[in-house]
Amino acid sequence: MSAGNLYTLSRKEGWRRWADTASRTRPEPLTIAQLRRLGEDAKADYDDARHDWHANFGTIKTPQLAAIHDQLDEIVATNRQDPDRVRCAAVIDALPGLGKTTIADTFARDFDRTQRRRHGELTDAGHEHLPVFRVGLSSRTTLRTLNRNICEFYGHPGSDRANAAQLASFAVDCVLSCGTRIGIIDDLHFVDPNRRDGVDVSNHLKWLANELPVTFLYAGVGLAERRLFSEGLTGDSAVMAQTARRWTRLELPPFQITDKAGKRHWLSLLKATERQLVLARSHPGMLSQLEDYLFARTTGHIGSYITLITRGCYKAIRSGQELLDEQQFDAIRIDEAAEVARRQLHATTARRHRTSAASGR
């Protein structure tokens, strides 16, 4: 793992680097005999390249991703109102592990590339052209930390030593000077509408949306349940009701295999993944013949699925098995939510088997 690959999308340098980096090249698949002919160092380098590839082989264009990209495109493309009018925001609201952040980031990356290609690397006034800013919230985000996060993305020198109001002013300057058009605010669920500072942050987001010619793209977990944009709120929470009128909520469902279309999509995901893998004993059907098993392990959550595949590939290479199968996957633990769901599913299946065996006697 090269130290040069360590960067964050929450700084303009990291975002720019990610946006400008060309797709990785897939390592050439070798056969078992070819692997054996490699020297020790060459084998280690080849394996390292494969580990890197399996962790980064690109984003699979699932129907969920395509649908949300289409809706985001529509929202951003129509948000051309003059500054005296309010622009709408988009909110990707879903459970963890369904790819909210990936969807937001990949959409914004394409937008960033297009804008810089069309309008250049500098603004008319000679500032750096940064079509997108991106910040991730943390627990107990306050007004000041939100503003500081935005300033830190742009590398504003006053980020560390200013009060909330000054930071807000710096943030507005950065956005306007750099020609930013999309602002990603990830992990919005850290804003708690039941706390005073949560209401302050929500108010501030509304103020930013009013002040800036930017389409805000929020992502978070269970935002509807948190009543972050519930309609009909009154009194102290009236600001939330106003938010509900300005935000378009985009849902992101997990894969399901309860009907034919769902099964077809799940299979298409497995095939897309399988085709990317670089294992010497990989073969067509290696993953797709495990469709039920893989669904049980991940409950259709793409985040859990990709983790399982990445760790499986690592293990397959390290062990020399060069193949993914049920036995290999069984030895891998992934996120706790998936493991709990897996245990529940196994318990249900075992109960069903016992019931059918008893009724068959």
């Binding site: 060309a22 797709s23 897939r26 698949p29 070798l30 056969t31 078992i32 005999a33 082989f57 690109g58 984003t59 699979i60 264009k61 699932t62 990949t106 077809r264 299979l267 298409s268 995901l269 095939k271 897309a272 399988e274 085709r275 990317q276 893998l277 294992l279 010497a280 004993r281 990989s282 073969h283 067509p284 059907g285 290696m286």
Partner: protein
Amino acid sequence: MAARLATEYAALTTAALPAGESAAPAPLPQPLAEPEPAVAGGDDDDGDLDEGFYDDAFEVLG
């Protein structure tokens, strides 16, 4: 000189062969190779095994 030698060589070798057979030397016996498993095909792999198998796979974005 070379042309004459080639003609003589051709006459010599074809004369000893039954009609319809080539004078080309027989291929050397190859060492037994370990059978190699199929490798999953990428976009550039034109192997027969995965032909059409991945047609319904989702696209992967760069």
